[in-house]
Symmetry: C2
Subunit: 351 residues, 2 copies
């Protein structure tokens, strides 16, 4: 399996997108976003998706160069119609607008509909944290992509409805990026590929019976994910509803419903400027102290370290910046085929 | 056990507080808040707390009539110093200010420090929902009251750090009110009183070992609560950090730390006006449709009904408004003793 530098992967992705009619600035945003997922260790959201993206362009399910239209605006808010352009472009724009508005209004909210999938949420809230603000992001499946049961239910009614929040600390931010289902679907797929049973409390079969067999999610009729919380899963269900409404209703895309016409993401980005409250420096100092305090706890038996959200991804990114990103052979083959006319060249290979 | 009307309990509480030097308008807010908890079925936050409140007044740990000082303000934000007055009064004021500011600015945030305990969170976010807005509330233990371990830790470092969110639906609102620990401490106490083991994933002993023995939380050295999430408790830990920072840092009270000087709550209230986004009526209609959709799922084996957050409490309140609030004999004795010079009189008695 080759180890490829982030720069090389970004260039491959950017060029391939541009060759498929994606405007250069958009191609750059999408390519960087894909590679940022690889750097963070979330390879399932990384460059392995590129062939699928190019196919989506051909199938016209994503619209390169689609205008991001501001359909409603106040000094502190905006509603955007992304016209089914790349989700990464729309989410980046939403974050930038929210941060600019919060700069003036202390709090700002930008809601987006008609966006394709935005990928890893953490990336966008980090835009706010880099400016000393809190960024919060609530995302639904644009009303569709139901794979999670309500608490007590046997049929999927919600998407995994993730939320993200980045908190500036003066140093690296705290970056929270979690689904409100017990886990994202990809985690179950990983267990399935490894032929291992999933932990308890993650999934139910198509009749709502708890199971540890990951295959049930991929049978007909399919099983579903459970909401976050294990035996108090009503809490995850509550959070899933909250995210669905903040993302789907505020944006006008719609909450989860049987009528969703098209896959994608609807989302709402909130930015909060601590300047209007305790002050930016004080805020970051409070957050930094909190990190020291939680890390000062003795370890539980079997635990190796107390990690704050975002820390694993940051360490992995540092390592992969140095050592390169491991790209499975079949993915690398696909990528190099995209890279004509330049010759195939890897940055290094490791067993 | 007597069943007492909400009106009678409110009057008893209001008069007792007033007799202890609490200004009449504050006494009314606190009394109504206590009885609202009883109505919702959360008796542990209800009138049984009244003797404790009166003792707190005598001990000067709560300051009746304390000014709620606006120490920083912008059109969309405020920071309040509650000067250790009643938390219910400060939280109600924060909600009202946030709603008024969101009316003008679409989004608003009000952060409060130096408040005593605010009780049931749901009550305050409902103030926003009653005005067609989303209300969100993030609460920490004013930096103290550590009873929850970080993920992987053996020592308590966070409070239960609850969050609440109310969503208008045109009919009764969705009211989310959850701790970011697996459960609130009171739930473990209930199992202990009943002599039953708690479900898995709720608590650890003082060395961080998972246990189902509720007694460990009350021994020396004490055990701790686990974060929400069971085998994915890093998610509850992430939410707990988010709440701690939004509540403790924005308000200036401080996040969880070894230096907390005094018990109480710090909190931040966010109000979001859907008018600036999809519109208030459309927003409520989206939320109402979501409720119908999740309720349309078949039931999982063993489940009796799919309930949305706030529904259990609302039903209980309707029942108790009709049938009266059950008050344990020893609590009722305490309350009637407070009610001199009027004679003791119950609204009815039921086996």
């Amino acid at each position: 399996m080759p180890f490829v530098s982030a720069e090389e992967l970004t260039e491959i992705a950017e060029n391939a997108l541009a060759a498929h009619g994606v405007p250069v600035d958009e191609a750059r945003v999408v390519a960087r976003s894909l590679v940022a997922s690889n750097l963070a260790g979330h390879d399932s959201h990384g460059v392995m998706r590129l062939p699928q993206y190019l196919e989506a362009i051909r199938a016209e399910s994503v619209v390169p160069g689609a205008p991001i239209e501001v359909i409603r605006e106040t000094p502190s808010t905006a509603v955007l119609d992304a016209h089914w352009g790349f989700g990464q472009v729309a989410a980046t724009r939403a974050a930038e607008i929210a941060v600019a508005k919060a700069e003036a209004c202390s709090l700002a909210g930008v809601a987006v509909h008609n966006s394709t999938h935005i990928g890893r949420l953490g990336e966008y809230v980090e835009i706010a944290a880099a400016r000393g603000m809190v960024g919060m992001l609530f995302v639904n499946g644009h009303g569709g992509a139901h794979n999670t049961v309500p608490w007590g239910g046997a049929d999927a009614r919600l998407c995994t409805n993730p939320l993200a929040c980045a908190i500036p600390t003066g140093d690296a931010p705290i970056v929270i990026d979690i689904s409100t289902s017990a886990v994202a679907e990809g985690k179950v797929r990983t267990y399935r590929i490894q032929g291992k049973p999933v932990p308890e409390g993650w999934i139910v079969d198509s009749d709502g019976n708890p199971t540890r067999d990951p295959n049930v999610l991929y049978q007909q009729p399919p099983g579903s994910l459970l909401p976050l919380g294990g035996n108090v899963g009503y809490k995850g269900f509550a959070l899933g509803l909250m995210v669905d409404v903040l993302a789907g209703a505020l944006s006008g895309a719609g909450c989860s419903s049987p009528d969703a016409r098209r896959g994608g993401n609807a989302f709402t980005f909130l930015a909060i400027d601590p300047r209007a409250f305790c002050g930016r420096d004080e805020f970051a100092a409070f957050a930094a102290s909190l990190i020291s305090w939680v890390k000062s706890a003795r370890l539980a038996p079997g635990a190796r370290e107390i990690l704050v959200p975002g820390e694993v991804e940051r360490r992995e990114a540092e390592r992969r910046q140095k050592e390169g990103i491991p790209v499975p052979d079949e993915v690398w083959e696909q990528l190099t085929r995209l890279r004509s006319p330049a010759p195939t060249q890897t940055s290094g290979t490791r067993a």
